[in-house]
Each structure stands twice: as C-alpha cells, then as structure tokens.
Subunit: 92 residues, 2 copies
C-alpha cells in the first residue's frame, strides 16, 4: 500500500472527504487511511460511517488507532501542546 492512500480530515464538509475515499477505492486502492487531529476526529468517524453505509458496502473498518501528537508552541517561549489523533484504516 502506498502512503498516498490517505485522507486527512480538515474543516470541509463531510461529503468532500467521503468523495475522496470513494475516488481512492474506485482508483484501485485496497486500503485507505482516514486521519484526523483534535476536533476533526468526530468528522473522521462521520466520513467513515457515511462512506461505508451509503456508498461502499464492501469496505470494512480494519483498524482504528488513537494517539497523541505533540505540537510546536504557537509563540516563541510557549509550551508545546498535545493534540489527540485518530487513524481509521478502511479495507476493501
């Protein structure tokens, strides 16, 4: 699997990311990684659920991983902050 089979969830509408997943699978991908950080985590779950239930019934959730990523301080002298992450691997 190539590293490019990833969909990084941001602030756009859920359907944009659903379409990205569908496009990857229709392009022959066997696995697609849906990744998100912070508040986008809820949207990542929405994307996966909509994609699977409405458009890709043959696709399964292979693995869900959660973790923490340390972010550089926003201003000089600030302390680094932690942000939660999720990575959902979809498999056809």
């Amino acid at each position: 699997m190539s590293e490019s089979n990833s969909v990084l969830i941001g602030n756009k509408p859920v359907m944009n990311y659903v379409l990205a997943c569908i496009t990857l699978f229709h392009g022959g991908a066997k696995e697609v990684n849906v990744k998100a950080r912070g508040r986008s985590i809820s949207r990542a779950v929405d994307v996966v659920e909509v994609a699977r239930r409405r458009f890709l019934p043959d696709v399964k959730v292979k693995r869900v991983g959660i973790g923490t990523q340390q972010m550089a301080p926003r201003e000089e002298g600030g302390s680094p902050t932690n942000v939660s992450t999720i990575e959902i691997t979809l498999e056809r």
Copy 2:
C-alpha cells in the same frame, strides 16, 4: 465485566471524565468502556489519551469501535437522523 464500567462522554471538561475512569480502575475494574456520540467523539479520544499518558500508564487500549446510531426525529413527522458513535475499551 459489569455493564456499569462505562463512562459516557458529554459536554463537561475532559478532566471530569478522566477522573471517572481513574475512579473505576482504582475501584478494581479490569475494563472500562469510554463511549461518545457525535461531536463528543473527539473529547472521548482526549479523555483516553490524558488518562493513559498522565495517570494510568499500565492501562492499554484494547479495542476501538465506531458505528452509527439512529436517533428518533426531534419533531413529529420529522425524519430520523444518524449520529456516529465511538466505544473505546480500556484494559488494565
């Protein structure tokens, strides 16, 4: 494992739910389920990450499950809406 070993994530601060997890484990629980719906899903991941990294280093994420729950219509004649769910099982 009894069904009561669950922490349902709502709109309170993350630390409230972290404390609930710690209390359950200190009370002898071997497993604790952290559950959330909709926008609280991101907070559920925060709770698990803070609890594990800062307070319960011997606790591991056993399983992360995602799904969809159908909610009754808010008003009569309305259509039911779907909401995403997450269930994170922690194991000591």
